[in-house]
């Protein structure tokens, strides 16, 4: 089956209230007035040099921008593994929640005119990707980042590695090398970065919690059932014969 490539961050509080709030959904949905006049929730990443930031807010501003590249080392030659960057976001996010601003033509540069890039970003939002259907607000890396994690340790889907044919495993056994363009600093707040390669079962990614929990709870239930049965047999008929006052 397909192999999924994730990046993971630790000690990164994407669920902090002020962080979660710090976005403007109307702007991300392509609303033109919000584009030029983002919500106050985005402060202090609302405007820069008197120009509205697009996309505004702390979430967008802190977007993960390391690039990961995977190579297979075969006889000292590095063969790049094809990493698919589309199809990593929810369909609803990609098609409903996130939309580029509308206007004359499809030139994103023109549509985003009057806005400025987020402070931390090296390039503006309309230059995230070369493909038009993965650029601007509907860039899937961006969408994935904007779906904030529930917990301070999280992983996010980065790329897909598609299975070529049914005869070979997606990633064959062998040597691989991972090239990382290090852009994203986490050291200052004691954060950690990870890269995870994973396959998926019908229940999703690997997580032993539910299995262990079910086995434990099942055992407890069984044990309790036996104990209660014994108690019922021993003491149970006491109430039927018990006298009732008055």
């Amino acid at each position: 089956s397909n192999v999924f490539m994730y990046y993971g961050l630790s000690n990164f509080y994407q669920n902090h209230r002020r962080y979660v709030k710090s976005r403007d959904d109307s702007q991300l949905n392509g609303d033109n007035s919000s584009l030029l006049n983002p919500s106050k929730e985005c402060e202090p990443y609302r405007t820069n040099e008197d120009k509205p930031i697009a996309p505004c807010g702390a979430i967008a501003n802190s977007m993960f921008n390391d690039t990961l590249e995977l190579y297979r080392i075969d006889n000292n030659t590095k063969t790049p593994i094809t990493l698919i960057k589309k199809g990593i976001a929810w369909w609803t996010d990609k098609n409903v929640k996130f939309r580029n601003p509308t206007g004359d033509g499809n030139n994103l540069t023109a549509l985003f005119q009057g806005t400025t890039k987020p402070v931390n970003w090296p390039k503006p939002v309309y230059m995230l990707d070369l493909e038009p259907d993965n650029n601007g607000f509907i860039n899937e890396d961006f969408i994935v980042w904007m779906r904030t994690a529930a917990l301070p340790t999280f992983r996010k889907l980065y790329r897909l590695i598609e299975r070529k044919n049914n005869l070979q495993p997606t990633l064959q056994a062998g040597k691989y090398s991972l090239d990382i363009a290090y852009n994203y600093p986490v050291h200052s707040f004691d954060g950690r970065k990870r890269m995870i390669l994973s396959t998926i079962s019908w229940m999703g990614g690997k997580n032993p919690f539910l299995g262990i929990a079910y086995i434990t709870v099942g055992s407890i239930c069984f044990f309790l059932g036996v104990v209660l049965l014994i108690i019922h047999h021993k003491y149970g008929n006491r109430n039927t014969s018990a006298d009732i006052p008055n």
Partner: protein, 1177 residues
């Protein structure tokens, strides 16, 4: 006193003395006395809004939500949208406000009704129709027969001779016998001469308004002469004029100053004990909330210092926040807002709704509807229902509540033969009911059609001219102090001082010995159609010591006879020795009568020797004019002549109880409710009723009678009683005594003490007055509360309230007062719950009551069924409600530890708004409106099921802590199961699921299903509505969730519904559902296990009853219980005359006789003619 004094102290200086002049408004106005307007309403049109809001914000909860609202308006703190608080708050305020407005409107209406009653006022020499409210102090008003007395009046003159005026004081003190008031001679001369009345300018000086009904002192100054005024000349507001065509009175106290109003006590807002407990719990929760917020705030401070400071690369601190501690401070308030749902405002709304619903059940209950006078039960206060399930003390009025105040001549024993029972052909006694054939009295034209008697043999005996029978009825028609009234020929109305006497005379009348008229010297009897005039030579009147009365009459034939009736114990001592065998037979009958709860009297006669009598009457005359020791001399003379009597027989009178009273009392007693009867009646009457309605019985170890007339006597009597009931309670080792010693102050709450048997206590009003004073209070409470039954007699309305207050003060128990008259108003208002008997004449009791119905017997249904249900429902509701909100809210607390203590909510904001309002409100309402553990029949059959309510077992602090712990446990499960299931996990297509929105959706879905399952576990009585509400709420949750998270909603309201797509993307995942199922199992498992264990190992008595019922339910239901009461009481004599002396003296003096009685004199002679007047004297 002090209670009411306050009210007037505010307005002006306390009045020391009242001074007024008749017919001089200008003079009286300078003192600014209150006029006759009464005002019981609280608001008017303009003051309503501010006053009502002010009152509402005094409630701790409302003030708290106002405070929250203000917090939410501060942007740095606001963690939830402001509308989450405003909408419910406005709703709550509006609902309570409308309710208050309606209540007050009704009060306005009833005030207006009373204030606008018409009365004739003498103004400028003319009688003018005025409204009650315009009557002023110093006015002279005219009242006519059957009028209510308008204000407290000084009686000036009346239509009756000597300006006597008869009044009925039932509204004031509950006594229905007539009382006589007499005007001063100097004012009675005014008559109805308007000219003279207008010129009347007497000045009255009297005491300031007070609430003492039986006391009045003042002076009237008229043309320089001073006359003393006392209570005998006062007509008090609330009385009714009877048998008096008209009378004139001078207004002394008006409106709020009248003794009636002064006695009516203050209307206080009643709260149930659950209310009070809830207030305490809310405070506890606030403390808990503050603690949680403090922990989280400190956590935030540390986090911001340790991590947040460095994380500023991606998330700078908010504007104005420059230190971690300041951030922590702000976060404290943010968390106050988020966690406020532990005390959701909907709690109060829901509580009100539940109470309202349960009140409707009472209103709609057809088993509490009295068809005879079309009176349904009514819950007038809708906020006290659950308290009905916790009653421990019932304070009941007697007259009109336990009894119908109708006396019936029921049985008699004449010359050793008992009459009154009906037997069928086989000699079996037949129970008398409506179908039993009544005796036909048509042979007697003067018979009272209302009189019913069933034993035909007695009529036969009368018709056969059986000598003893005739003598018996002749005695009954002669020996009494009843006044006849015959406005129309043949239409006789008797005015008896006590209803017993009236019943006896009426019985004689129907059997053919019609008492028709009396003059001071004669009594006219129509004996079997033949008019006979007996000369009345002497009345040996009743008093409390003698317990008997006699008359000496001379028959037309010239025989001198003494007729005597009285208590058996007394009369048996006075009998001639020749009656021994008859005495034995009669005793047997008396026992039989008494066993049926009848009030018995023994009647006897004696033929007098002419010479002896002349000698005696001479001495009697001497004694009655003696200046010193008159009473003693007279009673010696009475005793001398009342001996060697010949026994005639006995009468048995039924003080008709209301239907089902003994059964009700028995049932209530089984429910461990203590019943105190507080009555204005005298001791004997009260005790008699006590026996006949099964309050007192001979199974009791003892019935103590407290009648001491000094403080020390009362103390001794109380102590002796207690010594007998619980000797241990005098030991130093006794718990309460230790308490006494420990603290110098008397303890606030006395624990319940257990007596060594079943005891009763009877206390008279006089002794009660001492017992209610300072140090005796405690003695009284300790002794009285050990007794199963307490009867207080001759108590004033205020004393009634004081007794209730006493128990409220020292016992941690819920009290209920039930009564029907104005004299019960204060007690009804004082008790936790006041019940009025409706459908009678007076409505005051009902108007000030919380619940009203027509029959005493409905009380058991009200308490055992409605009260119990309401209590159980309320408890279940509170348990569940606190649980669900703890489980709901505390998840935020745990999340705080994983979100940098940033006041991030776990759930979607919409879910938070709708959780209490929509998703969980209906199922819990459904449960608290319909739930019942057993149905009404079983509740009545097993009154002991009521006991847990009294002990407050279903909801108290311990139970609350349990709910809290369960809530905390559930919240832990509800947070950590989704946490574990989500941690580093992915959807089955590799995409994100560990995002915040999915986590929120998962947690809230878990929560909602868990609380729905929990309510399923708590519901013991499933109705369609319950099913509908629970399944409906769950479906509504999913429907609303999918709608709110849909594309369309997002595209229209982008900013409001950011959760787009979460439902679709998350709820399609199997691991989400596995996690949900796991959380449900884990949340429910301990509850089920614990309940099972408790039922197995430690079943409570009511669990056992429930189990028994469950088994019994498998069999066909038993027929509704028709228990016959077992009566083994000893014989008691009832001579229930009023405490005061009879009318004897009045009759003999002739003062109350009209010059002529139009129909009394059939035959050729006039009773007043000289020929007969002095003969025999």
């Amino acid at each position: 006193m002090s209670l009411f004094g306050l009210k007037f102290g505010k307005k002006k200086l306390k009045e020391e003395e009242r001074q007024l002049q008749a017919n001089n408004r200008d003079f009286n106005l300078q003192f600014e006395y209150a006029n006759n307007t009464i005002k019981t309403s609280k608001y008017n049109f303009f003051t309503f809004l501010p006053l009502n809001l002010f009152e509402q914000f005094q409630r701790i909860a409302n003030a708290y939500f106002l405070f929250l609202l203000i917090l939410q308006l501060i942007p740095q703190i606001s963690s939830l949208a402001w509308f989450t608080t405003v909408v419910p708050l406005v709703l709550v305020l509006a609902v309570s406000g409308v309710k208050d407005a309606i209540d007050d409107f009704n009060r306005h209406k009833s005030d207006k009704h009373v204030n606008n009653r018409p009365v004739q006022v003498l103004i400028n020499g003319m009688l003018k129709d005025e409204k009650w409210m315009n009557v002023q102090v110093g006015d002279i008003i005219k009242l006519e027969n059957n009028n209510f007395v308008t204000a407290d009046l000084l009686l000036l003159s009346s239509s009756e001779p000597h300006s006597l005026t008869y009044i009925e004081t039932a509204e004031l003190d509950g006594e229905t016998n007539l009382k006589v008031k007499q005007a001063l001679t100097v004012t009675s001369e005014l008559g109805e001469d308007l000219q003279k009345l207008t010129e009347f300018n007497g000045e009255v000086k009297c005491e300031a308004p007070n609430n003492k009904l039986d006391k009045f002192t003042g002076t009237l100054t008229l043309q320089g002469e001073k006359y003393a005024l006392d209570n005998e000349k006062m007509l008090l507001r609330g009385c009714t004029i009877r048998n008096t065509e008209w009378c004139f009175g001078l207004v002394i106290y008006a409106g709020p100053d009248t003794k009636l109003m002064q006695n009516s006590g203050k209307t206080t807002f009643k709260r149930t004990s659950i209310d009070r407990l809830m207030n305490v719990l809310v405070l506890v929760i606030f403390a808990f909330l503050a603690l949680m917020c403090l922990i989280l705030a400190i956590g935030n401070g540390i986090w911001e210092y340790d991590k947040g400071y460095y994380f500023q690369v991606y998330l700078p601190w908010a504007e104005g926040v420059n230190s971690a501690s300041y951030s922590g401070f702000l976060m404290f308030w943010s968390y106050v807002i988020i966690l406020n749902t532990v005390v959701p405002i909907s709690l109060y709304v829901s509580v009100e709704i539940i109470r309202l619903g349960n009140s409707f059940y009472i209103d709609w209950d057809r088993k509490m509807y009295y068809p005879l006078n079309d009176t349904p039960a009514q819950a007038r206060t809708t906020t006290l229902n659950e308290e009905l399930g916790q009653i421990k003390y019932i304070f009941s009025d007697k007259t009109g509540t336990l009894t119908q105040n109708i006396m019936c001549f029921n049985k008699c024993s004449i010359n050793g033969k008992s009459y009154g029972d009906v037997y069928d052909m086989s000699g079996q006694r037949v129970e008398i009911n409506e179908n039993t054939e009544k005796v036909d009295f048509s042979y007697n034209q003067l018979a009272d059609p209302k009189f019913a008697f069933y034993d035909h043999s007695l009529v036969e005996a009368v018709k056969l001219s059986d000598v003893p029978t005739h003598r018996f009825f002749r005695l009954l028609s002669l020996c009494h102090t009843v006044m006849p009234e015959e406005k129309k020929e043949g239409n006789l109305v008797y005015q008896a001082q006590s209803p017993d006497e009236g019943a006896l005379v009426t019985a004689a009348r129907n059997f053919g010995f019609v008492f028709r008229a009396r003059t001071p010297e004669t009594i006219t009897i129509v004996e079997m159609g033949e008019t006979k005039i007996y000369k009345l030579l002497a009345i040996l009147d009743f008093n409390n010591v003698r317990k008997r009365m006699s008359v000496i009459v001379r028959s037309p034939e010239g025989d001198l006879t003494l007729y005597c009736k009285g208590a058996d114990t007394i009369l048996y001592e006075l009998l001639n020795s020749s009656c021994e065998s008859l005495k034995e037979e009669t005793t047997e009958h008396l026992n039989e009568f008494a066993g049926e709860g009848l009030r018995t009297l023994v009647v006897a006669y004696k033929n007098l020797d002419e010479d002896y009598f002349q000698d005696w009457i001479g001495r009697h005359h001497e004694a009655s004019t003696a200046l010193e020791g008159r009473e003693d001399k007279l009673s010696e003379l009475y005793e001398e002549i009342e001996k060697d009597l010949m026994l005639l027989g006995a009468t048995a009178i039924e003080d008709k109880l209301q239907d089902g009273v003994p059964q009700t009392i028995e049932t209530l007693a089984k429910a461990n409710i203590k019943i105190w009867v507080l009555t204005g009646d005298k001791q004997e009457t009260a005790m008699n009723i006590g026996y006949s309605c099964n309050l007192l019985n001979d199974d009791m170890e003892d019935v103590f009678v407290i009648e001491g007339s000094t403080s020390d006597d009362v103390l001794n009597e109380l102590r002796n009683a207690r010594k007998k009931m619980k000797p241990d309670s005098f030991l130093d080792s006794d718990e309460i005594n230790i308490q006494f010693e420990k603290s110098s102050k008397p303890p606030k709450i006395l624990p319940d003490e257990q007596a060594n048997g079943v005891y009763g206590l009877v206390i008279t009003g006089h002794s009660l007055a001492y017992a209610l004073e300072g140090n005796l209070e405690l003695e009284l409470v300790r002794t009285a509360c050990m007794c199963k039954v307490v009867i207080c007699c001759r108590v004033t309305p205020l004393q009634k309230a004081q007794v209730v207050e006493l128990v409220k003060k020292y016992k941690k128990a819920v009290t209920l007062a039930i009564g029907d008259g104005a004299n019960d108003v204060s007690m009804i208002k004082t008790a936790h719950i006041g019940v009025g008997i409706s459908g009678q004449e007076g409505m005051q009791a009902v108007l000030s009551s919380d619940f009203s119905f027509a029959q005493f017997r409905y009380l058991q249904r009200l308490l055992l069924v409605h009260g119990r249900w309401s209590y159980i429902r309320m408890c279940k509701f509170l348990k569940y409600f606190f649980y669900k909100n703890f489980a709901f809210t505390l998840v935020h607390f745990w999340y705080g530890f994983f979100s940098g203590f940033s006041a991030q909510t776990v759930y979607d904001e919409w879910f938070i708004t709708l959780y209490n309002l929509v998703y969980t409100s209906l199922p819990v309402l459904g449960m608290s409106l319909f739930d019942q553990d057993v149905d009404d029949r079983w509740s009545m059959l097993f009154p002991q099921l009521y006991v847990p309510g009294q002990q407050n077992l279903y909801f108290n602090k311990v139970v609350f802590v349990k709910c809290m712990l369960q809530g905390i446990y559930s919240s832990l499960i509800l947070f950590f199961i989704p946490y574990g299931a989500m941690y580093n996990t992915m959807r089955s297509d590799g995409k994100a699921i560990a995002d915040y929105q999915s986590f929120a959706l998962m947690a809230q879905t878990c929560l909602l299903i868990v609380v729905s399952v929990q309510i399923g576990l708590d519901t013991s009585y499933w109705t369609v509505v319950n099913q509908f509400f629970i399944w409906g709420s769950l479906s509504v949750y999913f429907a609303i969730t999918f709608t709110m998270y849909s594309d369309g909603m997002y595209l229209i309201f982008t900013a409001s519904f950011p959760f787009i797509g979460t439902a679709r993307n998350t709820l399609s995942q199997p691991n989400v559902w596995l996690a949900i199922f796991l959380s449900i199992t884990l949340c429910v498992l301990p509850v089920v296990g614990f309940r099972f264990l408790k039922a197995q190992l430690k079943p409570t008595p009511s669990d056992k009853v429930l189990l028994k019922i469950k088994e019994a339910k498998k069999r066909p239901p038993p027929p509704s219980p028709k228990r016959r009461l077992r009566r083994t009481s000893t014989r008691r004599s009832g001579y229930a005359f009023s405490h005061q002396h009879g009318f004897g003296a009045l009759i003999m003096s002739g003062r109350n006789m009209r010059p002529k009685s139009p129909f009394a004199t059939t035959g050729t002679f006039s009773p007043n003619s000289d020929k007969y007047k002095h003969k025999g004297l």
